[in-house]
Symmetry: C2
Subunit: 322 residues, 2 copies
């Protein structure tokens, strides 16, 4: 019988339901309410007795809890755990970390695909323009649309989201390559790094950033990287805000080096109302909602329960990251 | 040697280029400037000497011109020719009518797909909302997103655009059926009419109208048809505005019977600034730009030239409609 610490914010009914579904395992909850996503958890006495954690526990608690075997993080990003020190400590203790990519990959891939099609069809402009046949605004609007079909795509960061996005783009016959820190050989598209990446950026119509936030990725999308883009390429970010040098992006949008930017993540979140990115030309910002979808909490719990069954049977867990 | 009448509005350079490419055939142009799409052409003396027409000629001119063998219409819609009288007269004279669906199918399918994803990801709201984690507006926005994946779709009107849209939707594992006046047996999805259509409308998440404008389709999307929708279904129209009873649609949006409407076509175009549809809840209107794309005129001419080569060789023409 395992002791499962859960810091997902649940109603009494949801908690009762969870308890029934994991029985005979025990469910522990924090005494003080914690945030739902990417917040720092409480160093809770109950936590220290847990074997399994589902939620967003803080690193110190995880490394302190003596009985902990497995942590399932309720996000796709695992920034706070993604350090050499934590990886080494977790591996030394035989601690498994899984994330919730399966829950967010579909919504995230649909979100960036929605960005791509909205850009291709000039949607923000066309849903706010009243014009008609033969007016110059009408001809310009039509002419501003660029079919996705046959375009070139560079994806920065290849994981579950990129994998799903590549599937979605298949009917558009695009040329797609991706950058990945450590290629595993099972990727659906060619992996490029260094000089090969620079060459691909110089030809791409679309550059899609899905990079996680860690020491290596900080400001990866720099002034120098943006200068390698083909002039007028479209930039999308559904990874993490810290991976982009935002001042450099503002400059690139102003000069036309980047044709448009669609950002679901920024640094900080939300950006100040008067932040230069909000006023930059062709810059569209959504408030970190790419992974969001109806019944998200239920999806997270179902994903945890499916992994709990695997854990009970000693099988490999889904979305294992450490 | 054929005499080709062209009422596409061309620059001098474009006209010179066209003349070179069709030589030794002759290119005739109207003396008075005509509109580019769906306008009524001039009854031009040169027209009466033509064997081939590319553009938007008026019905009377077409039926009057004694040497005419083939008309290539520069739109996907062929409303003005789509009457039993015209069809009978054209067939009696051995006159072939082709349209330009190949040119518009890709852009139109991308446009309606952009609508679907923008709706799925609550894009109009999320690009205009400043909020962040833990705020109720943030949670509501995330919760308002409904993945396309696995949803049910009814397409009204199955032609080149629907065919391409069905290809695009393949990675989303949706259940798709279509209504078609005369099923041909080569459709990629099941064709439904009458009672079967009503049953499908009662289960669909998305109803996509691609109907052409003709006598049978006028106000096909009526109060009664909208009442058959599953409550909250999303309605899209990239066909023709006249196929929808707009008063009934306003009412359905107000009652929540239709969850949102995305319209590229209306009646008339543009709708008045104070038309009730513009103020209806969750109604998004683009100004008849679904088929528009960069270098459209060049695509139309290339499509005509490819058909001209087939015509010269006596082969079947692409996009033949009569």
């Amino acid at each position: 019988m395992a002791r499962i610490f859960c810091d997902i914010r649940l109603s009494e009914e949801e908690l009762r339901d969870l308890r029934e579904r994991v029985a005979p395992h025990e469910v522990l909850v924090p005494e003080r309410e914690a945030g739902f996503v990417l917040s720092v958890g409480e160093h809770d006495p109950a936590f220290l007795t847990a074997n399994i954690v589902v939620g967003q526990p803080n690193v110190e608690s995880v490394l302190t809890a003596p009985h902990l075997q497995w942590v399932q993080v309720t996000s796709a990003g695992i920034t706070r755990y993604d350090t050499p020190e934590f990886r080494a400590a977790a591996e030394a203790r035989g601690l498994t970390i899984t994330n919730s990519s399966d829950v967010y990959a579909e919504a995230c891939a649909e979100h960036v695909f929605a960005f791509m099609l909205a850009q291709a069809r000039s949607l923000p402009r066309s849903i706010s323009t009243i014009t008609a046949s033969k007016e110059s605004a009408w001809s310009e609007l039509r002419e501003s649309c660029r079919p996705l079909k046959g375009g070139r795509v560079v994806i920065l960061g290849y994981g579950f989201i990129a994998e799903r996005l590549v599937e979605m783009l298949a009917p558009f016959h695009m040329e797609i390559v991706a950058m990945r820190r450590r290629a595993r050989g099972n990727e659906a598209v060619p992996i490029v790094n260094g000089e090969a990446l620079a060459a691909e950026l110089g030809r791409a119509d679309h550059v899609i950033n899905i990079l996680p936030d860690n020491k290596e990725s900080r400001h990866f999308v720099s002034h120098d990287l943006l200068a390698k883009f083909r002039k007028g390429a479209i930039f999308y970010n559904i990874g993490r805000g810290a991976t982009v040098d935002q001042d450099a992006l503002v400059e690139a949008l102003k000069s036309g080096q980047v044709g448009a930017a669609w950002l679901d993540v920024t640094e900080p979140e939300p950006l100040a109302v008067d932040h230069p990115l909000r006023g930059a030309p062709n810059c569209f910002i959504t408030p970190h909602v790419a992974g969001g979808h109806q019944n998200e909490k239920q999806s997270l719990l179902a994903h945890f329960l499916a992994n709990l069954r695997r854990f009970e049977r000693g099988e490999a867990l889904r979305n294992r990251v450490i």
